[in-house]
Subunit: 245 residues, 2 copies
């Protein structure tokens, strides 16, 4: 049985660096926490290593490294005491089709990006493109909000402008969610496959140069002049467009 | 000009207690942060006191108390340096009608409760009932996610079972969002006013005794066996039911 007690252990110090985006980018690895995420990582064949709190039962086929609570805490992003941490390789998911794609422009809150990925998976989105200034999908908060969707849906950090131009050549209609005129009300949009949906930054919305090349703007009808949370707006559009197409 | 430099100031120590639910419940007061929330509080006639970081411009008609950054930080729930904090009385909002009501059963994440209130206000919900184990609507995280909706929409902490029984006597149809059979797909529900929508706890869903007395269960159609974030599910239902009624 392998056991690590000290937070000064070299391997632990290396893996704790994965809490930082820079190290995740460099290594291609990331950390997951909790029973559900570990099971998702195993199913996706992405789990490399398991750190398990001493005394806990191992529910996987892998041989875990048992650790003191201090070691687990050093690898955990949460305040509460975690019990299991996994080291994963980033999944490489190739979609069968590109009928419905999402494009996220500068969405900076990890919780929002995670909730969007969760909804995208639930509603059968084929692929998600993220501008390079979006929250990292392997950020622990993003992973937590995504509930493991990251192991099921293909994603890519990319230049959104070029991607939209490419998709349009491939006959994909690009819808922008925007409060700027001219727009169509969501209830009046009857999309044909393939289509893409662009969501913008929480405060500033979609960048003007990207908005300019979208084929149509969509507005979610509201009773007030208020706005919606971006993950909420995304999910309403995905669900409604799916049932209108 | 009033100025407070020390975090040991008696008034500051008293108002800092408002970061705790117990003190908010006792006093009927709560704290808000930031330009947008202060404006909402003023518009709702709920603002009692403003603490403004020294050197900042006062954009309100009230006389602020200028404070050191340390004092502002003591009143703030955020890590980043806040600049303005308001002390508010809890709003008392009486709706004109009860055509569409929300009922939240044990929703414990403050961000979820806030996002639900934000969507409820955007989609013209008349009133929101919350079970007593929901996150406090005056929790700083709830307020932040609600984007000030709390100043526009009436809410009450209540016994949901009794409330549902009362609403049903008043001819309100009560829909539960639930994955348990029997259910109707959301696309097939054609609600008549007045109606209520029940949302359940993030992990456990709606309590069985409450589920038992609801008139119908609604399922949001999904491609996978995954679930949605509760605020996402709520918002999709509110938007879709509104356009189906």
């Amino acid at each position: 049985m392998k056991y690590i007690e000290s937070t000064q252990n070299k391997q632990i110090k290396e893996h704790a660096k994965l809490l930082q985006k820079k190290e995740r980018d460099r290594s291609g690895l990331f950390l997951v926490e909790g029973h559900h995420m570990i099971e998702e990582a195993i199913a996706a064949n992405c789990l490399k290593e398991i750190y398990l709190l001493e005394g806990e039962d191992n529910f996987t086929d892998l041989e875990p490294i048992f650790c003191s609570q201090q070691v687990i805490n050093k690898l955990s992003s949460q305040n509460s005491n975690a019990k299991i941490i996994g080291v994963c390789t980033k999944p490489d998911i190739q979609p069968e089709k590109f009928d419905v794609v999402l494009l996220l422009d500068g969405i900076q809150d990890p919780g929002n990006v995670g909730t969007i990925l969760r909804s995208a998976y639930a509603f059968g989105v084929d692929y998600v493109y993220l501008s390079k200034d979006c929250a990292d999908i392997y950020n622990p908060k993003t992973l937590q909000s995504s509930q493991g969707a990251i192991f099921h849906i293909g994603t890519m950090n990319t230049d959104l402008y070029d991607t939209i131009r490419f998709l349009q050549i491939e006959n994909t209609t690009i819808y922008a969610t925007s409060l700027h005129e001219p727009y169509k009300n969501l209830q009046d949009v009857k999309p044909k496959l393939p289509y893409g949906l662009v969501l913008g930054n929480e405060g500033k919305g979609i960048r003007q140069d990207i908005l300019n090349i979208c084929d149509m703007s969509i507005k979610i009808e509201m009773d007030t002049f208020e706005s919606l949370n971006v993950a909420t707006a995304c999910s309403i559009c995905l669900y409604t467009l799916k049932h209108a197409s």
